[in-house]
Amino acid sequence: MAQPSAASAADVPSLIHARGLTKRFGSFMAVDGIDFDVAPGESFGFLGPNGAGKTSTMRMIGAVSPVSAGTLRILGMDPGRDGARIRARLGVVPQQDNLDVDLTLRENLIVYGRYFDIPWAEGARRADELLDFAQLADRRDTQVESLSGGMKRRLTIARAMINQPDVLLLDEPTTGLDPQARHILWDRLYGLKQRGVTLVLTTHYMDEAQQLCDRLVVMDKGRIVAEGSPNSLIAQYTTREVTELRFPVGTQAAALPTLEGLADRIEVLPDRVLMYAEDGEVVAEGVHARGLHPETVLVRRSTLEDVFLRLTGRSLID
């Protein structure tokens, strides 16, 4: 089990503090006794495949799902007792859009502000500011229905900021978006991070985790299997580079014995072989020197995907 750094937990009171946090649905263990702390101003991520327990964890942090066992403190408060007070200080971006399609963009933000008891005029002022921030100001009086997926996500993030939250919770913020929309969204989130907003997000995209997270935990089957910064996780669990080999269909198995000893570690996937080493080019040369002719040879840097593969033996996205 990963240890949260003792120093940060002692010096700065953590915004979110979990020990042995557990969520059960009947006999199914969605979250199986996890420990973590999130410090103010930090960008903290939960990385893992679908079904790892990320969303269940986020819902408990959001004080909308009762904790089955363990300790959870959010902003120093107990979600079982102070749910409404905690939620008053959170911003939530859910996995599935739940905007009000009958209302305009601006009305969506103002009405959402009303749930936090923000007066109408003040809500309108903040809504205009946030629509600027989300680059949606020119559509402020159109109905939500007409927006693209990426625009809806940006509006949802703007909506989550209406109460000027201490923590922004984002559950798979870019799932289902095209690459361009993802980059715009990342840029906006990066802007929030620069302003000192604490971000807590879940993702199954390793590039997203690498872009946005100062620190992350890797989850699998309800448990935390590793914790650290993206770079430290890569340094700890994998080599600097990876050489990916694709062989003609049906010839991979026969090639495997010949590859032995060429890399620090070899992962065999159904459609390709991953060779982990400090210098990928050396591996590629070695493969050719041994008389093998893969269809493609790709040398790349290790990513969190490799960390995940190493830790669980499975890909993040199957």
């Binding site: 909308v64 939620r87 009958d102 209302l103 959402y112 749930y115 008891d117």
Partner: protein, 267 residues
């Protein structure tokens, strides 16, 4: 805190409603005009003629014309039908179609606030519908007393809530809207037709009259009618029975609606 949260949910509904205000008010107006013209005036002419009704009204209907007899019952029955409509798909919308309830519970608003705020909004909607209906009745000259007809409006709204609250509780348990047509076909439509809206049940066989006691609509119609005709004083005990049944359905339904919505949204 809770009261203001309930008010926020109500406010949201009102804002959404504003978009469809004109069309909605128009159909709330058109519906009683059509029913009163066709059933009250058209059919009423034959009914009254057959009963040899004179200037003193139709003796079989306690001395009022058929149109006058129909009006308060149809008021309660129409509000009941609107109640069923407001309590089915809009609730599904919040939970499944647009998931707005999930957006709400991420804020200080609770599932209980959503249930109570939504029922408060339905009460307001039904009041609008009942008031428009009463205005149309008065325009038709179909009420012996304008004041007494207005006094029947709260009873009509309560009758609507005796249906709305349990139906909201039911809707909160549904995965989609597939069961709703059955609610209309097997519950609200038969009750609309058979709870004494269009004809008195007095002359019908005893088992039918006993069954009517189980229908909150029958109680609502009977109470609305006796208020509109100034007849409550002749049997105040029965009026209280009617009121008790309506309050039981509305109150019990509200309790169930809160419980079911909490179970649905908070997992």
């Amino acid at each position: 805190m809770a009261a203001s949260s309930i008010a926020r949910v109500f406010e949201h509904q009102a804002l959404v409603y504003r978009r469809t205000l004109r069309g909605s008010l128009f159909s709330s107006f058109l519906n009683p005009v059509l029913y009163l013209a066709a059933m009250g005036v058209g059919l009423g002419m034959f009914v009254d003629r057959a009963a040899a009704a004179g200037a003193a009204g139709n003796p079989a209907l306690g001395g009022v014309t058929y149109l006058q007899y129909l009006a308060p019952g149809l008021l309660a029955a129409t509000v009941m039908q609107s109640a069923a409509l407001e309590s089915t798909h809009p609730i599904m919308g919040g939970i499944v179609y647009h998931r707005i309830y999930y957006a709400m519970i991420a804020t200080p608003i609770s599932a209980r606030d959503i249930a109570l705020g939504t029922l408060a909004w339905i009460t307001a909607r039904l009041t609008m519908i009942a008031v428009i209906f009463a205005v149309v009745v008065l325009a038709f000259g179909a009420a012996p007393s304008a004041g007494l007809l207005l006094a029947a409006i709260p009873v009509a709204v309560l009758t609507g809530m005796a249906f709305a609250a349990p139906i909201v509780a039911f809707a909160a348990t549904q995965r989609n809207g597939e069961a709703f047509p059955a609610v209309f076909r097997f519950i609200t439509t038969p009750l609309f037709l058979l709870s004494g809206t269009f004809f008195p049940l007095d002359g019908l066989p005893a088992p039918v009259q006993a069954a009517a006691w189980l229908s909150p609509l029958w109680h609502g119609i009977a109470l609305a009618r006796s208020i509109a005709f100034g007849a409550v004083g002749s049997n105040p005990g029965l009026a209280l029975d009617h009121l008790a049944v309506l309050l039981l359905f509305a109150g019990g339904g509200t309790w169930l609606a809160v419980r079911n919505l909490q179970r649905r949204l908070v997992k």
